[in-house]
Amino acid sequence: MLYREAGQYKTGYTADMAVFPIAQDRAGIAIILAAVVLLPIVANDFMLQAVMIPFLVFALAAIGLNLLTGYTGLLSLGTGGFMGVGAYACYKLTTFFPEVNIVIWILVSGLFAAGVGVIFGLPSLRIKGFYLMVATLASQFFLQWCFNRVQWLYNYNASGAIEVPERYLFGWALTGARATPTVRYYVVLTIVVALTWIASNLVHGRIGRSWMAVRDMDIAAELMGIRLLPTKLLAFAVSSFYCGVAGALMVFLWYATGAEYNVFDINQSFYILSMIIIGGLGSVLGAFFGAALIYILPIALGFAVPALLAPFGLHIGADTLEHVRLIIIGALIIFFLIVEPHGLARLWQIGKHKLRMWPFPY
């Protein structure tokens, strides 16, 4: 309906292969970007601190996991662990070299996660599916154990937790108690947008195709000359990189003060996994949808439900709400698997197609 594609013909392959070939889509993206950039003007600190920043962080992690599970078809429950690697690496780096800008370390810490990811990805050559999932559980629990037991990782703090030091960016406090949500929001936004762009570049190119080929039919892929191990390992590396950066962002720019090892426990892995299930496997966009639904929706409910019940004199405690939240997430997962196994991303596609064909049904 909103689309006006007549006259949008492509005279070259570059234009034809663009990620957003349709002008209306590009416009839409531009509007969204503008909106999120201008958000802090209207949004209060809660909105930024408790909604947007976490949403972006989770979305990034979800993209990471989606590259591995959605695009390459390798089921992983190690997300939390890899995020942790990022966080702890960043902590060690910035405490070793306080003078280097934290943003750089956040990105570099992703590389450490990537390294670890590759090591735990090695088994993926010989084992597939659920077996591989168990293998990734090994990494999850092992890493979790390290974060807890290897005191060196948290500089022997008595608390056994990471204590985020104050760091500055162009004079603004970026981490630590004095960092304002607005500053942190912009940094997170920049990083997430940049990495999203890169992710979409990857999946639209040769590498992305090899990943999907391995996912859809690994035997055929090998006979096409795609070498399975390097391809899978690359997927692990890139995926872990994203998770690692997400982890670092989580501790340094969301929590901003510190975090304990159990932030990165198995439940974190489950949480992210549920995001990509609902958002849609094999879709970068889906990662954002998933993060929004799984993280933001319950918050919204947190406000809506009591407000709705109040008139009837009913009151719900925060913890009750938390339980309800879990039930809702679970129900949503099942619901979406039943109505649309390919998640919100697929629904979005269908809707888009309808808009393009409007007023025709197909």
Partner: protein, 670 residues
Amino acid sequence: MREETAKGKCVTAAVAAGFDTFPRLLARNAATLGDRPAMRHKDYGIWQTWTWKEVNENARALAIELHGLGLKRGDTIAIIGANRPRLYWTMMAAQMLGAVSVPVYADAVADEMAYVLAHAEIGIAVVQDQEQVDKLLGESERLPLIRHILYDEPRGLKDYDHSRLHPLDAFIARGISRLADRAQRALLDAEIAAGKGSETSVMLYTSGTTGRSKGVMLTAERCIAAATDSVALDKLTDRDEVLAYLPMAWVGDHYMNYAQGLVSGFCMSCPESAETVQSDLREIGPSFYFAPPRVFESLLTRVMIRMEDASALKRAMFHYFIGIARKYGEKLLNGEPVPLGGRLLYAIGNLLVYGPLKNVLGFSRIRVGYTAGEAIGPELFSFYRSLGINLKQLYGQTEAFLYITVQVDGDVRADTVGPLAPHVEVRFSETGEVLFKSPGMFTGYFKDEERTHEVLAADGFIKTGDAGFIDPVSGHLKIIDRAKDVGRLTGGALFPPKYIENKLKFFPNIKEAVAFGDGRDYATCFINIDLSAVGNWAERNGISYGSYQELAGHPRVYEIIAGHVAEVNRSLAQEPRMGGAQIRRFLILHKELDADDGELTRTQKVRRGFVAGRYAVLIDALYSGATEQDVTTEVTFEDGRKGTISARVRIAEAKTFPWRDEPARQDEAA
């Protein structure tokens, strides 16, 4: 000299100044519009584009090579295939050498094609692909003159004997390198310079509704003069885009796309293939669009069918807003006053329905749209206009190249073909036949003095063979029918078959109709149902059918058609002088009329006489009062095999209406 307009460089003003041949226009465009796109072709997944410079270069390269093959001034060269830039370039190249290009219908069967090629004394044929090459080689003993065949698509021709076959692209490459040499350039430039506007530049074979087709000779200067007028009329500029999807052999394509393109400098896009025209149209979104009524007709049918499958809510919305459009759309388009409420509703409709609909059809950007070739159903016509598409009618023919009358923005009517085109004169014979003089008029039929004289009146006017009159109210020309087809019932009442048929054909369910009645007591007709429309209806109503024949014979289908016929009768009864021509009896033909059986022309017009002869038994039955009739018909299949089908055809009575009988042909005095 050139004027800047909002829409870009308006080059039409420059035409007068000595650009009297197409090669000169091409050279001019290459100079003035050098890097603007001239032609596109959807190939290998994208719209390959050539600028005017490149087109000029390629055409020149071809020209020098054709010269090498011995193509001389006055020679003829055949061009056979779908719309392809390279084929248009050969036209240009031939004209550079003063040769006459003869585009031929690519879908013509080998025999038909052989006739034209032989008659036109073709020495060199430029074809699209293997299919055409095979046709020519197959008929080679009938075509002794053909020395060379050039082809565009090498697919499948690898193992052919290449002594007389040449790939076009290699040709062009060679030509370009050859043109590096000054002497060669000079030679070519000399040829172009030697060209005169008065020379025949193209020969178009009219499929002719009767007899063998004849070669209409057109001279460059006249073509250009005519095109210049219409380009000015519709303010076409190099910013316009057209989709060249109509047969190159048809005057419409040569005028609308080739001539107007070279004059105005707009960009012409060639579709990927016949199957993809719709999607290609959608991609290009032309700003100038021409289609014969049947195209708009089938399009509307498809639209309605597709909407049938939409959700009830959507369907309701669609029909509601189409209603709104019918109410206000045309008024708005003609700039007539419309109440604010109406404007508002229309705006909403535009957002929800018209805009998107035009978008999916590829009509969003149409600035000027034309339809012609036969009368268009008023409803059909206003449907598109009400969507905000500036669709207009024109009346013309090959011999006039092309316009005789053309409607101007703001003064458009469904039932007329508009006022005279610029520089066109018209008079009427005592029988009401239309005669004209036009800037583009032809110089005669190739090697056919006799028939040339038939149509050429002593005073230099040309007979159109159509009966019509100037509508006193609007001052527009009104065409009733082919002059020789307008008949009288024994009762003396007027009987214009086409007129009736067009009314019938507006119903999506009716694809083709042939009316009879001349010299009879009353009017009757054959009907072809539209398989897609009726078939879709049948599915939705759980009616199973194995073939067209079976569906056509189905009682409930007869009911539907009877309803339509009654509708037509009602409207005839209301019109002056037409009431007598109401259909009394009709039948639904057991097979679709088909060009391969000679029942239709290549442009899908009914060969009335032929059909009448072929189905004489049925016509007799229509008047004998029989309720059904057995008939056996010979048919030709796609692959050329012949076979016969026989059927028992039912004949139905139609509801007629009382009409006020008026004295015949009174306003024809005009």
